[in-house]
């Protein structure tokens, strides 16, 4: 029995090392293509863009969101802003209604139907060739849109461009741990962009050619992750998605463990169920790296984290059992002889070195992600927070997402 566990353990470590090395090799191949523009970007033409802000009980953040759109360096007459109140029960509508005085802003109110219905209402009223959404808890950097549009400008094959989403104003321990994770995600997303294998077109300011929706249909519920479902649908239909690393969008991150748990449960549940819905895409070479790398990688990480967690729980249980055994046998006696430190007893099994290697590449991803978002090299304290938060809590939302999938229970949005 122990040997089966050990075989599974080494297979998972092999796959995890493979994934990390794959990312690193992709980085080495493409590192010169990662450009961070500091000067103003000008385009050969400025096509009209419609940006929809779906709102549901966002009275505290939406004003700033809309202001960030009004502040964009993109020509005002080429930017249409649609604010859709999706049946908020707070004063969100009053807040957004103030913006109806702007000539390029339109405000809508509808019955609550979920974020995808709000986006679809926006789509119905979109007359431009480009369409995007901006979550009402996020703020766009002034230069973000023009930088995103520069990708469409140079390549007519590109169908969607995702920005770099950065954690905004991290204060709590949980938020700081997420900050490191968001930085790492920027790096990973850029690599997936190079591989043509992006699996999420994030709600904060991904811009699409309107053609995508004309061809493939509007947003779907997508297990409460409509931004993942549309990316899967695009990949299935071989529509190219790029990542514009220097288009920054700041998003409010969950402040507490409970809120983070709910958000991630929704994301992972969305990943599992969208992957199940699109299982026909898995391991088919015609769907490229998305099918052979991104989706299997997601599955591997879920299985690995769950396995690691079970192993840790088992080891802790085993330790406690041994201590109880000692107590029952000889009572509370602490003999000092048992506590002498000796390097002999340091574990030097091969998996230790491989796990250290994996962690080094994860830290590298965070450091390079930080360079891409903050322009700074080096370690930060937040990177230390990441490991305990995500290795101790992630297994719970992962396993709950699997549990919900098996029992077909749908997680709430918040």
């Amino acid at each position: 029995m122990a040997s089966i566990f050990s075989v599974i353990f080494y297979i998972l470590i092999f796959l995890s090392v493979y994934v990390q090395v794959f990312f690193f090799v992709t980085f080495l191949q493409n590192r010169k293509k990662i450009i961070i523009r500091n000067s103003k970007v000008s385009l050969s033409s400025y096509p009209s863009v419609t940006i929809v802000v779906p709102c549901w009980n966002e009275e505290h953040t939406v004003e700033r969101t809309v202001n960030s759109l009004l502040d964009l360096t993109y020509p005002k007459d080429k930017l249409k802003i649609l604010l859709v109140d999706d049946g908020s029960t707070d004063s969100t509508f009053n807040v957004i209604n103030k913006f109806s005085q702007f000539p390029n802003v339109k405000v809508f109110h509808k019955e609550n139907g979920g974020k995808y219905t709000a986006l679809n209402l926006g789509l119905l009223h979109t007359e431009t060739d480009f369409f995007g959404g901006l979550d009402a808890d996020s703020f766009a950097d002034r230069e973000s849109l023009v930088r995103i549009m520069s990708y469409f400008d140079k390549d007519s094959e590109i169908m969607a461009v995702a920005p770099s989403v950065i954690a905004y104003n991290s204060k709590t321990f949980i938020q700081n741990a997420q900050k490191a994770e968001y930085n790492m995600s920027v790096y990973l997303k850029k690599m997936l962009g190079f591989l043509g294998a992006i699996n999420v077109t994030p709600g904060p300011l991904t811009i699409f050619r309107k053609k995508v929706f004309d061809d493939l249909g509007p947003y779907r519920h997508g297990h409460n992750t409509e931004d993942m479902e549309i990316a899967y649908r695009m990949q299935k239909n071989k529509y190219r998605i790029e990542h514009c690393n220097d288009a920054y969008v700041y998003t409010n991150t969950p402040t507490t463990i409970k809120k983070l748990y709910r958000q991630r449960l929704r994301w992972i549940y969305g990943f599992i169920n969208n992957t199940i819905d699109y299982r026909s895409v898995l391991f088919k070479k015609q769907y490229g790296n998305f099918s052979l790398f991104t989706l299997p990688m997601g599955v591997i990480s879920i299985v690995s984290v769950a396995y690691l967690f079970v192993r840790i729980v088992y080891n802790i249980g085993d330790f406690i059992y041994a201590k109880i055994n000692v107590f029952n046998t000889v009572g509370w006696h602490f003999s000092s002889a048992n506590f002498y430190p000796d390097t002999f007893f340091i574990n030097s099994q091969s998996f230790i070195f491989l796990v250290v290697f994996i962690y080094l590449l994860v830290v590298f991803a965070m450091i390079f992600g930080r360079r891409m978002t903050e322009g700074k090299w080096g370690l930060s304290l937040y990177m230390l927070y990441f490991f305990p938060v995500f290795s101790l809590i992630a297994p719970f939302w992962l396993m709950k997402a699997v549990y919900n999938t098996v029992l077909q229970r749908k997680p709430a949005w918040r």
């Binding site: 490229g288 000889v330 003999s335």
Partner: protein, 226 residues
Amino acid sequence: MIDWKKYLIVFLITVSLFLSASYVSNYFGERKIDQLKSIQDKIAIDILSSETQFSLLSELSCKNISDSVFSGELAELGSKLEWSERNLGATEEVSYLKKYYSLLQIKDYLLMKKISARCGVKSSFILYFYTTAENCSLCEKEALVLTELRSKYQQLRVYSFDYSTDLSAVKAMLQIYKIKDTALPALVIDDEVLTGFHGIDELEALIKKSFKLQETKPEENTQKSN
């Protein structure tokens, strides 16, 4: 569209990382085995030296001799060997070292017996037989009791023998005390064989009676470790 070459190269890199990790792991494993070997050699020399000293000086230096063999080192070696068996795997090298360890224990035991006979000191030792061939939870419990007793009574020597050790000297001990693998753990205290699990209170009373041992006082401990 798919860069198969890259998938292959990454696979090869991953395989070579695995091989390197296992090479490094083996290197450290061997270093540990070397460390065990050097401890064993030192103990072997100590025992041989004590034996020689004992033969040379006869009864005159009883006091010096009884202090010259370091049972503490034997215990340390025992715990390191046990750890190696669990973590480095029951390799040939580890099982060879275990045999050697058993032999050193027997030699130490015989020497102590001789010393006690000639110098008129009551020897205080326990022979302990256990098994690793099958899951023996009582053996594990008994080992805990003995470790505790050993730390409580510094003069007490515990010699432990794995029933499944393939060594004629160990087999001879098993024959002498008529130890059977169905009745493990087994203890020999003052030539009396006890089978099955015996709790700390029972053994403590027994060794106090047999060997008239005193609990180690903290001051004595510090002196010894110095």
